[in-house]
């Protein structure tokens, strides 16, 4: 019987997948045909945007600009995740320490990220370092605050079990508190990834010599409007890819959580 059900379910899933393609394809087609004879310098045809896209990103500017952008972003993001989780466990377990640092954390978190770009340049100069550090600084907060919440909310019965079996403090962090907080931590990491992506572009708009944001800004300033649109297209595609990859990892890591909820 299952052999009968399987293909039917697979076919159904394929049909659902097709539905999700309808709007993007329709939008692209509309864009393509509506802009085909465009003479406006600000709304170039999709055709010329795609040509620019191919010329810019595939692959003449790939190694010189796309890779540095993505590399800086991922480096800053990873630093934020490591730091945010480590500090989050510390603050979550030591409420007094958290109390002491909380006002400072709230102040730093409230600073608008874009306003910090000039500050980072004054402090750290131009080049990769200020961009990476600023990305890490801004993205650490969603990870940190979510980790604190998650670590605090570990079930008392589970804590009791871990303590009664005499697990050491480090073992309790590793085997109990971190996994229990994983749903919160990953929620924070997801927000942080979006912020990191924004920071990638923002940091490249001032005092930069390469990067996707830099190239896009240059195009706009030299009236290469179709190149500017090509930059938007690339950013959109990259954003979707990052998010998709994150969802895959999250689903894998939190399988126990979703299944536990279902049962």
């Amino acid at each position: 019987m299952t052999s009968m059900v399987r293909p039917r379910r697979a076919r159904r899933r394929f049909a659902v997948w097709l539905v999700s393609l309808v709007v993007p394809v329709a939008a692209l087609l509309t864009w393509w045909f509506a802009s085909l004879g465009s003479t406006s310098p600000f709304w170039p045809s999709l055709r010329s945007i795609l040509v620019s896209f191919q010329q810019l990103w595939l692959f003449s500017r790939f190694a010189s600009d796309v890779l540095p952008s993505v590399g800086r972003m991922l480096l800053g993001y990873c630093m934020a995740v490591v730091l945010g989780v480590a500090l989050g466990v510390l603050f979550g377990r030591l409420p007094l320490l958290h109390r002491a640092f909380d006002p400072a954390l709230q102040f730093c978190r409230a600073l608008p990220a874009t306003a910090l770009v000039p500050v980072s340049i004054v402090l750290l100069g131009i080049g990769d370092l200020p961009k990476i550090v600023l990305t890490a600084f801004v993205t650490v907060f969603p990870v940190l605050l979510n980790t604190i919440d998650g670590v605090r909310a570990v079930d008392r019965e589970l804590e009791d079990a871990a303590r009664s079996y005499r697990l050491t403090r480090a073992q309790r962090v590793l085997h109990v508190q971190l996994p229990a907080a994983a749903p919160n931590i990953l929620a924070g990491m997801r927000i942080a990834l979006t912020v990191a992506f924004v920071m990638m572009v923002v940091t490249e708009l001032v005092a930069a010599t390469n990067g996707i944001g830099f190239v896009t800004l240059q195009a706009q300033q030299s009236f290469e409007v179709s190149q500017m649109w090509a930059g938007m297209l690339l950013l959109g595609i990259l954003g979707v890819l990052f998010n998709g990859a994150f969802v895959l990892v999250e689903r894998r890591l939190l399988r126990w959580y979703t299944k536990d909820r279902e049962s």
Binding site: E157, A161, S164, Y165, L167, Y257, K259
Partner: protein, 260 residues
């Protein structure tokens, strides 16, 4: 042997003091199965958390008589089985790891640890389930994982806090008999708290009946029912009914006493 001497526990909140345990004294002999019953809200869980060293008492002490050690933090001689399996097992770890992780400091050798895990799972009838996740198992099976985790730890004392409260009646009877068998095989000393009078009489060598809050020991009853016990024949004995009635009378007395 385990001795509880004049144990007291009060919680302080917002200036007022809530007295939970007033004066608890009893001993548990080596190899004995002691069950503790009391009206609901009698601070049974508080008592067990003090016994297992998870909660500091406000007075009195719990002593491991052989070594003279006073329990202040969880001792290696004691393992616990908690009330709610879904909260005391780690849902992100497979069954095998759930049993293995508490052994990390007791059995350093990896192969020996794996063997201990396998043996414990066999003893509770869960061989072959190492690679399942807790949420893939039924409630009764999950509580058996918790029991396997406790016996793999090779404790002298097993402390159980209403371990069968969240499973259905038939599974409950199965688990009761499983505990009796495991206790017989491993020579464990068990302290089990329950609100179920039948269960207390059926399992115990002795039943300690507690009063309502603030809790004291009302009476200790010796259960002179023959072993091995059986759900069918033991519970049909006139003596079983007598003991059960006696406990029930004490507890309903405790309830009306508490109401006054």
């Amino acid at each position: 042997m385990l001795t509880v001497e004049h144990l007291r526990k009060s919680y302080r909140s917002a200036g007022s003091e809530l007295e939970v345990l007033r004066d608890i004294s009893f001993t548990v002999n080596a190899g004995e199965f002691v069950t503790i019953v009391g009206p609901s809200g009698a601070g049974k869980t508080t008592l067990l958390r003090c016994l297992s060293g998870l909660l500091p008492s406000s007075g009195g002490k719990v002593v491991l008589t052989e070594t003279g050690k006073v329990i202040q933090s969880p001792p290696p001689e004691v393992a616990c089985v908690f009330q709610d399996y879904s909260r005391s097992l780690m849902p992100w770890s497979k069954v095998g790891r759930n049993v293995a992780i508490p052994l990390k400091n007791k059995i350093r050798d990896r192969a020996a640890r794996r063997a201990a895990v396998r043996k414990a799972l066999e003893e509770v009838g869960l061989d072959g389930f190492d690679d399942s996740y807790p949420w893939q198992l039924s409630g009764g099976m999950q509580q058996r994982v918790a029991i396997a985790r406790a016996i793999a730890y090779r404790p002298e004392f097993l402390i159980m806090d209403e371990p069968f409260a969240s499973v259905d009646a038939q599974t409950r009877a199965d688990l009761e008999d499983l505990v009796l068998r495991v206790r017989h095989d491993a020579g464990l000393t068990i302290v089990l708290v329950t609100h179920d009078i039948d269960e207390a009489v059926y399992l115990g060598d002795r039943v300690i009946v507690m009063s309502g809050r603030p809790t004291t020991v009302l009476r200790t009853l010796d259960v002179d029912l023959p072993r091995p016990r059986s759900q069918v024949t033991t519970k049909a004995l006139p003596r079983f009914t007598e003991l059960r009635t006696e406990v029930l009378t004490l507890i309903s007395g405790a309830k009306t006493g508490a109401a006054r």
